[in-house]
């Protein structure tokens, strides 16, 4: 019922600020596993599996060079997905934090927008730490083949923020539709994991026969991976196309969870 609600930036900022206040208390313990996980992938896939991949690697890169930027993108996806699924669910239905917030001048639509921004922020924070680590490790161990080789990589943190917002919109959409927390198994098994495996992080999707590359084009992480890889390796005009895809997809979808979440909070 009612017209489409557009979030107020001020209200959204207040919600973002609430999350930031809490995050400041435990950021060390929260960030640690998130650093660690991509490093495990890098070790297992990059060094372990990579050792079996013929010299010459992929597109002239070593295997570990190839997968490192993609892991930045998937790290942002995981960070934003956890934030917008389990964390948001608890705030919505268990701790009822949103009920408390929406009795103030902050409206439900502001809450959702604030959560998008926060998930993006968290993705960017985690990713920046991980990016720094990749840069250092690359120059320390394989200076002839660094993992991050371009100044354009400085644009990766803001890119991760946008990627985080995109996956927050998707996660929030799912959260707004479910009543039981165990249903996230479907979201992670049927959405997040396939995206992780088939978005060109571990192998180039483009070299598969049709319609695999065409299908990949319609999925969000594929573009996030391309964008991060393009920025890690230097100027690549194709990044603009991926960024545009991400912005259009995120923009088009973003108001849907806003309206559904409003109905969860205002009857």
């Amino acid at each position: 019922m009612g017209s489409i609600r557009i979030p107020s930036p001020r209200g959204a900022f207040r919600v973002w600020q609430r999350n930031a206040t809490i995050f400041r208390k435990y950021w060390k313990s929260a960030m640690f596993p998130n650093f660690f996980e991509p490093l495990l992938y890098l070790a297992a896939m990059g060094l372990g599996l990579g050792a079996f991949i013929q010299q010459g690697g992929i597109n002239g890169q070593t295997y570990v060079q190839y997968i490192a930027p993609g892991l930045l993108a998937s790290n942002a996806m995981f960070a934003a997905s956890f934030e917008s699924t389990f964390n948001t669910f608890v705030k919505l239905r268990i701790d009822r934090i949103y009920d408390a917030i929406t009795t103030t001048p902050v409206n439900p639509e502001d809450v959702v927008a604030g959560e998008y921004l926060w998930a993006g922020t968290r993705a960017a924070l985690y990713g920046t730490g991980f990016l720094a680590m990749l840069t250092v490790l690359g120059f320390a161990f394989t200076p002839e083949n660094p993992l991050i080789s371009s100044w354009w990589a400085l644009l990766i943190p803001p890119m991760l923020l946008v990627i985080g917002v995109m996956f927050s919109v998707m996660g929030t959409l799912f959260t707004s539709l479910i009543k039981r927390i165990d249903l996230y198994a479907y979201y992670f098994t049927l959405v997040v994991t396939p995206l992780f495996l088939f978005s060109g992080i571990f192998f180039p999707v483009e070299e598969f026969p049709a319609p695999v590359p065409q299908i990949a084009w319609f999925t969000p992480l594929y573009h996030a991976v391309n964008a991060c890889r393009g920025l890690a390796n230097g100027p690549d005009l194709a990044v603009a196309g991926d960024v545009l895809w991400i912005l259009v997809f995120t923009g088009a979808l973003s108001l849907v969870p806003v309206q559904i979440m409003r109905r969860r909070l205002v009857s």
């Binding site: 809490i22 701790d95 009920d99």
Partner: protein, 322 residues
Amino acid sequence: MNTETRTKRGGVGEKSTLVAHGLRKSYGEFEAVKGLDFEVFPGECFGFLGPNGAGKTTTMRMIYGAAIPTSGTLSVVGLDVRGNERAIKRRIGVVPQENNLDDDLKVRENLLVYGRYFDMPKKAALRRADELLDFVQLTEKSNADVSELSGGMKRRLLIARALINDPDLVVLDEPTTGLDPQARHLVWDKMRDLVREGKTLILTTHYMEEAARLCNRLVIMEDGHIIAGGVPEEMVEEHVSPQVLEFRAAPEALEKLRPVLQEAADDVETGATGEALLAFTHDSDAVLDRVRRSGFTVENTVYRQSSLEDVFLRLTGRSLTD
């Protein structure tokens, strides 16, 4: 129905804090609120008394924007609830039925972060938070985790939180439900302080005693309707005789007693559990005398003053708390 009685503070011409006309709310087929009319004046403590499921919480939710009326009008602090939700929420404070404090924040932080939702400047929020912690006697717990608080302390913190923006109207939904008697009295003290300060309070409750102690005026709700309203003492006077005799005995004995009472007392009601007869009268001695003369052994009889509970029983034939 006399819901228009003005209190000392709410004089004629003063702008009403709350006005509802023909207010309705349906959820699909289910109609939770079926046409309410009421008016609350500045400085009043106004109660919504009724059993669970009467529509009290739905009415509160419409006041603070968590539910949208299906029809009728509702204005809060002089503003129509349709299209003014932010402006209204800026000027009211809400104490919800269920605790929804922020467990990730300390006691004092709960107030400070809440103040930010109202765009309060940091300095003002700090000052206000400390005043309020003092007011609800939680200063010592300022840096405690919310999870360390008892139920009564949490409720007091919720009250403090609702006051952070110095609201014109405070909405309290079942403010003492689930609290032990001591904690309940402390909450009542705080509410009385607020009324004394001139705040306008509305509260829902299914405790007759709470409504009678705190409210200048109240309405009794049942099944989505307001079935009576007014000043508590006047309502008792209007609807029931001042004295009540409760007779407890086996059902067969009570049935024999009933005609005797019907003759001697003003009104006779069956108690909520069906194991008692309530005789309403102006002269309890005369009634007791008649009962004795009828041969009924009076051993399990309670004498008391009539109360709002009895008003509810008279009007609905049911008890408030079942």
